[in-house]
Each structure stands twice: as C-alpha cells, then as structure tokens.
Amino acid sequence: MKFGVIVFPGSNCDHDAYHVLSKHVGQPVDFVWHKQTDLSDYDAVVVPGGFSYGDYLRAGALAQFSPVMNAVRDFAASGKFVFGVCNGFQILCEAGLLPGALMRNKDLHFVCRHVNIRVENGATSYTSELEAGEILSIPIAHAEGNYVCDDATFAELEKNNQIIFRYCDENGETTGEANPNGSRSNIAGICNRQGNVLGMMPHPERACEELLGSNDGRDIFRSLTKAITNNE
C-alpha cells in the first residue's frame, strides 16, 4: 500500500497529510510534484489544502490544469482513491471529479476554528470505521467553503447518499448557526457516485493528535486504509 500527496505551487497542508499518513496511519507516502504524470505507484492520492496558484481566478481553478491532474482523472476513473481536503476539495470540483462548486463564505470571513460535523453515510470507503450520526470535531480554515450546486445535482447527491459530512451543533443538529460558511444543506463533504473520490472542507489531517485538540480525523484515514487493503 502506498499513498501519494500531490504538491501544487501554493499547497500548504501537504506536510500535515504526509505526517499523518506516515506516523499515524503507518503507511509509505510520497510527495508527488504537480508536474509528475505517473501515479502507478499509488493506491490513493491526497489532494491537500492550501492556496494552489495563489487562489488566482477562483480557488482551485488553475490547479486543474496542472499536468498531474490528467493522471488524477485516469486514476479516479480506474477506481483508485482520490481524497481532497479544503483546497483539494475545491480543485476536485473545478476539475469536474466532484459535482458543484465552492464559493466565497456567506459572511465573507475567513473562518478558522474547530467545527462539529456529522457523519451522514458510514458505509463508504472513507467512513467505514465511523457510524452514521457520529459527530466529529475537525478544524476548518477557509474563505471559500460555501458549497453550491443546482437542484438537480442536490437531488442526485441525496438519492445516492453522496453527502458524507454535514456541519452540525454539539447535539448533531444541522442548524443554520452550525453552518460556518452558508453551504447548501450544511454540506461539509461529498463523494462521487462511485464513492472513490471524496472532498471535504474540514481538515481531518489536523485532527489526528490529542495534543492538537482532537483525534477524530484518524478514523477517516483508517477507513481509507482498510478500503485499500480490501481492494488488494
């Protein structure tokens, strides 16, 4: 089993992802520079957070044209795992690997704090070690996390159980107050129809150590590791 962490100019959560995968998940990891076009060594790639290409044009818009992204499209089409966090989620939406788009937060603020998210679907490759309804404390840090999609897309997401995480309060209620950015239906993370591509705005790689305030993110990486083992 081997993970790749893609590095774009402006990525800044690549080392966090590398640290968690190597230290807490205990698996081999490589950094993959965005000009690389061969992902055949890997079982899963992480598209990390940060400000790829300085967020120029739109967050994630320019990274979709990096050479590595054609390889990521083929990689995803072959059923391998692609996990986008924060800017990685924005990139996967811009690249068309996930539906919808991430817009400026409703109140325009950059929000940087721990939030509660509720697991909506515990039967995916990213959540098998979690249960539906479980509440995780995971930090967010973004200005463009306001998930939007049209009604038809939203209906599809709901019908196929592609909404994986929703922002909620400490009781698990998905209230308006618990929504930090105005996302449609409190959406914090979604997957593609096949379930092998996941994007989420909260940072599970920053929530894998008690010292950092939460280790609730570990089970997402453990789930993914289990799914890769089952695939082998």
Partner: protein, 80 residues
C-alpha cells in the same frame, strides 16, 4: 485584435461580495440601488492575422474552459 470576456455569476447564485459592496454603496448615501453583482473582466490580446470568427472561437473556448466555472458562472465575449 482583442477579446473582451465578461464573467458573471448566474442569476440563481447568491453573491455575498456583491451584497457587501451594495451595503457600502448605501452607506455612502446612494439611494435607489436595488442590487450589486460582482463579476470579472478579462482582456485577451490575439494575433492580428486571426479572422474575427477564429478569434471569437478561441476566446469562447478560453472563457468556457478556463475563465468561467459553468457550475456557477455565465460568460460573454466581445471581439474588438
């Protein structure tokens, strides 16, 4: 030859930045302002030997594939 590309949010998409600008405009005392929507404007310089049809085609493709996100935005191209 120059292509001017205007990228605007689809009418169905809320524009928080436009709302904030609207609020500031009102604070300045301007009345009768119903709404402000923010967009983007691009100028693309093209080779002078291109026909207008080819120039338009190139600019349309650039607008569709790069400058606008069709999930949330519309675009309009002018050739001058």
């Amino acid at each position: 030859m120059k292509a001017k590309v205007y990228v605007t949010l689809k009418p169905s998409v809320l524009d928080p930045q436009g709302k904030a600008i609207h609020h500031s405009v009102e604070l300045l005392g301007y009345e009768n302002i119903r709404d402000v929507r923010q967009g983007k404007y691009f100028e693309i310089a093209l080779d002078t030997d291109l026909s207008e049809t080819d120039a338009r085609q190139a600019a349309e493709n650039i607008a569709k594939n790069v400058l606008a996100n069709p999930v949330i935005e519309d675009y309009r191209v002018e050739i001058v």
